[in-house]
């Protein structure tokens, strides 16, 4: 029973990290039809920012900025020419991802580095270690912030309008280009924050992003495109499933189980948990 309970904070914190990562992906995918494989490298950039600063409090906003600006540059320089062509953006951004990984290898070396956790995050209450609690807190804060942005600010409402119907939004005078930039900035920034969170539970390496990007995309698929609720629920579900699948079978089967579960889920809900209803025949 204790072993079973011990698995809970692990699953929840993996879910929390996936949530932070998938938030950006689901909106860039849903809003712009872009599959950004380089999103994983924004995680890595956030983690290396934490490594360079060696200060958790400072690292969070810094990582958000670094990853956000990287996303902004990528969006402006390349991706915006590929809107609505998800497969092409997938391959294009994979090229970017390769370059960024090699860049990290050249800058920081190929071996993993360790970011020492701050003293105030060691220890825990009961079965909940502080570092994992902190990660969950980060995810909750990130989700609430995104939710407030989407529902309470003018720009956020415009973002939702663009997600639902880009053309209509554009013809009603919304500057879709600006909305897209901002979405990309925030989404990439959150990936950076996820990177900082990951330094609390493991080492940092140039390939850090590649371990999480595939699962994060599965979250998007299971949650439904451009859906905040969907991303949150699917991230938690996959995070927990991941940790309990490892617990019940062995670690090597966990990913197979997760993938099988996602495919089984798609048999019931082919478009994910939540769907934007439209009558358009694509």
């Amino acid at each position: 029973m204790t072993a079973f309970l011990n698995q809970l904070p692990i699953g929840l914190s993996i879910g929390a990290v996936l949530m932070l990562i998938a938030l950006g992906l689901t909106f860039t995918f849903g809003q712009m039809g872009v599959i950004n494989m380089a999103h994983g490298e924004f995680i890595m950039a956030g983690a290396y920012t934490a490594f360079l600063l060696q200060d958790m409090v400072l690292a969070l906003p810094a990582a958000f900025l670094v990853a956000g600006v990287m996303g902004l540059i990528l969006e402006r320089s390349a991706i915006r020419h590929f809107y609505g062509r998800p497969l092409d953006t997938l391959l294009l951004t994979w090229g970017v991802s390769l370059v960024l990984q090699q860049l990290a290898r050249d800058l920081f070396g190929a071996p993993n580095v360790q970011v020492p956790a701050p003293a105030w995050l060691s220890g825990g209450v009961g079965i909940l270690p502080y570092n994992r609690l902190f990660i969950m807190g980060l995810a909750v804060a990130g989700v609430v912030a995104v939710w407030l942005y989407l529902t309470r600010t003018g720009l956020g409402r415009r973002t939702q309008a663009v997600v639902q119907n880009r053309q209509l939004a554009a013809t009603s005078g919304i500057d879709t280009g600006r909305v897209d930039m901002l979405t990309f900035f925030i989404g990439s920034g959150l990936a950076g924050v996820a990177g900082v969170a990951l330094t609390l539970i493991g080492p940092v390496g140039p390939a850090l992003g590649t371990y999480y990007i595939v699962d994060a995309f599965l979250v998007v698929v299971a949650g439904g495109l451009g859906q905040l609720r969907g991303a949150v629920l699917a991230a938690l579900g996959l995070g927990l499933l991941n940790s309990y699948a490892e617990f019940w079978s062995d670690a090597s089967l966990a990913k197979v189980i997760v993938l099988a579960a996602v495919i089984a889920f798609l048999q019931v809900r082919p478009q994910g948990l939540f769907v934007l209803r439209s009558r358009v025949l694509t």
Binding site: I35, H81, P86, V99, Q102, S252, K255, V256
Partner: protein, 343 residues
């Protein structure tokens, strides 16, 4: 008729006659390796180029083929005993999964049937629910990621991270002999040639037209009375079978199969190769695999780190500037020349 087959005949003569005569054994072996990748690329060209299914998990099918072949080779060498890596990882009895692979017919059939069955299952589940496009790409990529973790984790069954290597003979032939390797090269080149002709025939048939129609308007095709899920599943399975066969040929040619050869990155690399060669034309896919294979070897020999930059950069350039790849550029140039001559 003769004119139409001339380009293929020329390439076939160069590949089957000139290359084995002119290339030193080491280079010929490399070419055989690229041709194995070209078989996978041919399948990607069919599924993605013609059918619009971006499959990022071809490495999985390649791996199933490769591991089937490797298991057979290991068992013949063990001569009733245990394969070397099992002894090292403390396995005492041959796992039941391995037993039938001592039979070469079974092993070779599984190299193709295994991938086909997996593709049919996945395709049926996914395409019937109208999951497609990027969703499909993501699921196949997740499959590649899961497969690697599975292979690495099942050390006693699969040889773990190192995979399987140290193969000495195939059907009684010494794999270290140049003549064996030359023979293998001819087999690989022959298989590629036959598969290329068959695939081209398929693409030019009415089935090929249907496939293009499914790619460009799946929902419309339903109202023509066809089930797009069936068309896509059959095509996906064919490309998986080709990848499996390529994997089975790869193992005796290169002498190793390991998770690193079939994960997310190698699967994507092959898609990259197809895009560079030109996804819209089957020959472009084949060419892309050979060119990228050669480029990778050449650059890795010179400066290993540079390859990733170059590959990444090449890909960004191809996607942004020449999305139809080498074949597209060639067609444009040929078209210009023709119109220049006409005026």
């Amino acid at each position: 008729m003769i004119k139409r087959h001339l380009p293929f005949a020329t390439v076939a003569v160069i590949a089957l006659v000139a290359a084995p005569l002119l290339l030193e054994p080491f280079r010929l072996g490399l070419l055989a390796k690229y041709l194995c990748y070209a078989i996978v690329a041919l399948g990607i060209g069919l599924a993605w180029g013609k059918g619009g299914m971006l499959t990022l998990g071809q490495g999985v099918f390649f791996g199933l083929g490769g591991y089937s072949m490797a298991m057979y080779l290991k068992l013949t060498e063990a001569e009733g005993g245990l394969p070397d890596f099992m002894v090292w990882s403390g396995v005492e009895e041959l796992p039941a999964l391995w037993v039938p692979f001592a039979n070469p017919v079974f092993a070779l059939s599984m190299a193709v049937l295994g991938p086909v069955v997996l593709a049919v299952v996945l395709g049926t589940l996914v395409f019937r629910q109208r999951v497609r496009g990027a969703y499909f790409a993501i699921l196949t990529q997740a499959l590649a990621a899961a497969m690697v973790i599975l292979l690495v984790g099942q050390q006693g069954l699969t040889g773990g991270t190192n995979g399987m290597t140290n193969f000495f003979e195939l059907f009684g032939q010494d794999l270290a002999e140049d003549s064996t390797q030359r023979g293998l090269y001819l087999v690989v080149a022959g298989v590629l040639g036959v598969l290329y002709l068959a695939t081209r025939q398929l693409v030019n048939s009415r089935y090929g037209r249907l496939l293009v129609a499914v790619r460009d308007g799946e929902d419309r095709v339903r109202f023509l009375g066809y089930d797009p899920a069936l068309v896509k599943t059959v095509t996906f399975a064919a490309s998986a079978g080709m990848a499996g066969l390529a994997g089975a040929l790869f193992v005796p040619v290169v002498g190793i199969i390991s998770p690193a050869l079939l994960g997310v990155v190698p699967s994507l690399e092959l898609v990259v190769a197809v895009a560079v060669g030109g996804r819209h034309v089957l020959a472009g896919a084949v060419l892309g695999a050979v060119v990228m294979g050669y480029a990778k070897t050449a650059f890795s020999e010179q400066f290993a780190d540079g390859w990733l930059y170059l590959q990444g950069a090449l890909f960004i350039v191809v996607m942004t500037l020449a999305s139809k790849g080498i074949a597209g550029v060639a067609q444009t140039v040929a078209g210009r020349l023709r119109s220049a001559r006409a005026t």
